[in-house]
């Protein structure tokens, strides 16, 4: 397709679909059309996931072919991807054709490989954060660093469930920190993100921003 034709065509499709989906919230007659576009979007999202997996496979297969320093990790990834895919197809065949319970082999892989690995990473992160907190004042010894350090300690103490009944004000301090300054800052971030999302949506609807090319 000619690029000169593609650009305005893609822009027209994006704007048209966006306007119809947005109008579907306010015009009852457009609900069915909005739902049609949403379903098409779901199919495209699923296809995009498959395309992403294929791209991941291609990138690491290329790294393996180049035989660089990290090609060993790419080999493990490609092997794991192919093995999981084959097991998934096997489970799918077993479930769909013979009515066996849900993907037992895949569930075994998830329970005994993926879940422990990710949970262990979270545990390592807990140790790393603890170590970073101890080293924090080693590098930064100024007023704000000291304030930050003691706020961390106060929140941790307030999270305790065992000793706080005897010291009730500790839990109240933690509640105040979490519900007022922390929540206020987080809400501010969310409001900024929401405004940015609205602005981005409007830019796409009026064609100023064209992330799909052109």
């Amino acid at each position: 397709m000619n690029i000169k034709f593609k650009t305005p065509f893609a822009t027209a499709v994006a704007i048209g679909v966006g306007v119809i989906v947005l109008a579907g919230y306010f015009i009852p007659g457009l609900i069915s059309l909005r739902f049609l576009f949403l379903r098409a979007g779901l199919v495209l999202a699923a296809v995009a996931l498959i395309v992403g997996i294929l791209n991941l496979f291609a990138v690491h297969f290329r790294k393996m072919a180049q035989n660089d320093d990290n090609s060993g990790y790419s080999l493990i990834l490609v092997f794991a991807l192919i093995a999981t895919l084959l097991i998934g197809f096997f489970d799918m065949f077993q479930s769909y054709m013979f009515g066996q319970p849900n993907f037992q082999t895949i569930s075994w892989l998830f329970t005994y490989i993926q879940l422990p690995i990710e949970t262990s990473l979270m545990a390592v992160m807990a140790v790393s954060l603890t170590y970073a907190a101890t080293r924090f004042l080693r590098r930064n010894l100024h007023t704000y660093a000291v304030i930050f350090f003691f706020i961390v300690l106060m929140v941790l103490i307030g999270t305790l469930s065992i000793f706080t009944p005897e010291v009730p004000f500790l839990s109240q301090i933690r509640q105040w920190i979490v519900q007022v300054p922390a929540l206020g800052g987080a809400r501010g971030l969310l409001l900024g993100i929401a405004l940015g999302t609205i602005a981005t949506g409007l830019r796409i609807l009026i064609g100023t921003d064209r992330p799909y090319g052109g």
Binding site: A126, S161, I162
Partner: protein, 641 residues
């Protein structure tokens, strides 16, 4: 109307013009005597060149040179003569009346003369002096205003040259009259053929004697060499025939460049400066050479350069004079620049031994403390949660929602959290789901993450194994919805169309849990389990229009609690029940009276938090003190130095 012919280009300019419209050459001022002068047709004219008027022939050469522009046609002939004289190596100032020998040399220009003669004849016939009436031969065509005159009177009023012509031919008047009439009416060809030129013009017409035949219109003779030369790209024959070597030998170096016309010479100031070296301090510079000679205050062409300084400058050495310090700086800069192009070898950074030890020490302490609390059984239900956790309305509201459900009611559960947080959220949700199963509720699982269906299967298999729930009979796993918010919205609008089959490929909506479900609002409870506040917000925003808010509840991790809790605490509520973190799960289990994973994990969690607090406090305090000591030492070093 009198017209002036440019002596330079021959262009006819209207009267009153000072310069030529075509070439800008200054036009001579037209005096009445010049307008009245007519070409001489006297017999003496044969001794003089026919191209020059009689009064011009009487002038001395110098005067003739000055008066050349004063005439009309004469002017043209004058510059032609000048050119001709130049060809012969004569100075224009030496212009003399051409002799008969000169006429022979000018044969090559006869074609030009003939053309000019015709033009002059036409111009003369149309010319009328200012303030005078038309000539008699013109006034005859004036019609009624014309005054009848006798032939003798008419003869007296005619110009001399015309009278002589009339005497010779006796047909001039009719011819001219017919010619003038031809301006108003188309002339008959026969009458034109009978026309004759004046005698002075017919003298030029050698082949056709005057009065012997009709005047033939001027035509280009294709055989004429001169005419061919005009339209030839090469030089004309008369010009190419000139022997250049001979001409150069004759002229030599006598040709003075940039000769000015006489009228320019007359305008030029005669004052000359005696200063030839350029500007004097108190005097104005007066040009000595060229067209501007004698004019003061002219910018000199020569630059004001002192020759001595120029000669001295040319002898100066170009060797750069730098000091020793400057040479050191230059070499230093050169070294710095040369290092930029070289790769610096990266040395291996050895981790500080104390840091590695500290890292391992922290890990060992945490593992031992938490592991010991888990192994020793920490005491299910032993720890008493804090007051605010006991009084949390979220678990209580969630408990009431589930407690009001009847058997075979269907609860939709969204498993939207990462496997890394499964330890916390599985424990928190176990008590809630356990309550649902004890209520004999149907369950349906959905997720917007690819790992969600596996997490759901893991959860129901590992935490609720005592109930022996089976897929397709007691619960249904609807799998994964792509598209994030768009997928959630689509599922909220039409769940049957978006997820037609179950995780195992069976028809999900024919199974007992979903048989009576048509829309999202048909579910009796919608429980969202997530660790991400953004995911929680997405579900709340998309499903709220399609399901009653009294049916929506959440189980979130402790890190998402601050951002999710406002959805429960605000009025009106957007979720009706909330259990956050292990304390929330423990509180729910306390309500149900059946301790579960939250109660088991709460004590190890508290032990881990206490160890972390102590480690951070002690380690941070020690590092802060070390940093303070280091800073003081640095200050002392600076003070000493």
């Amino acid at each position: 109307m009198a017209e002036i012919q440019c002596p330079n280009c021959g262009k006819i300019n209207p009267e009153g013009k000072d310069v030529c419209d075509s070439c800008g050459f200054p036009l001579p001022s037209q005096s009445p005597s010049i307008n009245q002068e007519t070409p001489s047709t006297s017999p003496d004219a044969t001794d003089s060149p026919p191209d020059l008027p009689s009064d011009a022939q009487d002038l001395t050469p110098g005067e003739a040179q000055e008066d050349i522009p004063d005439g009309e046609d004469e002017g043209d002939e004058g510059w032609l003569d000048i050119l001709h004289a130049a060809e012969e190596g004569e100075e224009p100032g030496d212009l003399q009346t051409p002799s008969e020998e000169d006429e022979e040399k000018k044969e090559d220009t006869d074609w030009l003369k003939r053309i000019r003669a015709l033009d002059v004849e036409e111009e003369k016939g149309q010319e009328t002096p200012e303030g005078e009436t038309f000539p008699t031969w013109m006034s005859e065509v004036e019609g009624e205003e014309k005054v009848e005159k006798t032939p003798s009177e008419e003869k007296q009023e005619l110009p001399d040259w015309l009278q002589s012509e009339e005497e010779e031919t006796g047909e001039a008047e009719p011819i001219l009259s017919e010619k003038d009439e031809g301006e108003t009416a188309p002339p008959e060809p026969a009458q034109e053929e009978e026309g004759h030129f004046p005698s002075w013009l017919e003298e030029e017409e050698e082949p056709s004697p005057a009065g012997e035949g009709p005047i033939q219109p001027f035509e280009l003779d294709e055989d004429d060499e001169v005419i061919d030369d005009l339209f030839d790209e090469e030089l004309p024959s008369w010009l190419s025939s000139v022997d250049m070597e001979k001409e150069e030998a004759e002229t030599g170096d006598d040709i003075s460049p940039g000769e000015l016309p006489g009228w320019v010479e007359a305008m030029r100031p005669v004052v000359e400066s005696s200063d030839t070296s350029g500007l004097a301090e108190d005097e104005e510079y007066i040009e000595n050479y060229g067209p501007l000679a004698g004019i003061p205050s002219v910018l000199p062409a020569e630059a004001d350069i002192d020759q001595t300084s120029v000669e001295e400058g040319s002898k100066l050495s170009f060797e750069l004079q730098v000091s020793k310090t400057q040479k050191e700086y230059a070499s230093l800069l050169e070294n710095v620049i040369s290092r930029e192009g070289k790769a610096k070898p990266k040395g291996e950074v050895k981790p500080v031994a104390t840091q590695r030890v500290l890292r391992w020490l922290i890990a060992i302490v945490l593992i031992i403390s938490v592991g010991a609390s888990v192994i020793t059984g920490g005491g299910t239900g032993n720890p008493s949660p804090a007051g605010h956790q006991k009084d949390d309305p979220g678990p209580a509201a969630l408990y009431e929602m589930i407690d009001e459900m009847e058997a075979r009611d269907t609860a939709l559960i969204a498993f939207d959290y990462q496997p890394a947080l499964a330890g916390e959220l599985n424990a928190t949700a176990s008590g809630v789901v356990n309550h649902l199963l004890r209520q004999e509720s149907y369950l349906a699982f959905i997720s917007t993450q690819a790992t969600g269906p596996s997490l759901a299967e893991h959860f129901i298999t590992n935490t609720q194994s005592e109930f022996e729930y089976q897929h397709g009979r007691d619960y249904i796993n609807l799998g994964y919805i792509p598209g994030q918010a768009a997928g959630v919205l689509s599922f909220s609008i039409a769940p049957r169309e978006i997820v037609p089959i179950a995780f195992n490929g069976a028809n999900a909506w024919d199974s007992p849990p979903l048989k009576e479900i048509q829309t999202l609002s048909d579910f009796d409870l919608f429980l969202i389990i997530t660790d991400d506040p953004t995911t929680a917000r997405m579900w709340i925003e998309q499903v709220n229009p399609y399901i009653s808010r009294y049916k929506v509840a959440m189980i979130v991790s402790a890190q998402a609690e601050p951002l999710v809790r406002p959805y429960f605490q605000n009025s009106p509520q957007q979720i009706s029940g909330l259990a956050a973190g292990l304390p929330g799960g423990w509180a729910y289990e306390e309500l149900t009276g059946s301790p579960n994973l939250s109660s088991v994990f709460l004590f190890p969690l508290n032990v881990g938090i206490i160890v972390t607090i102590l480690t951070v406090f002690i380690g941070g305090l020690a590092n802060g003190i070390l940093n303070l000591i280091k800073q003081r030492k640095n200050k002392e070093k600076r003070g000493v130095s």
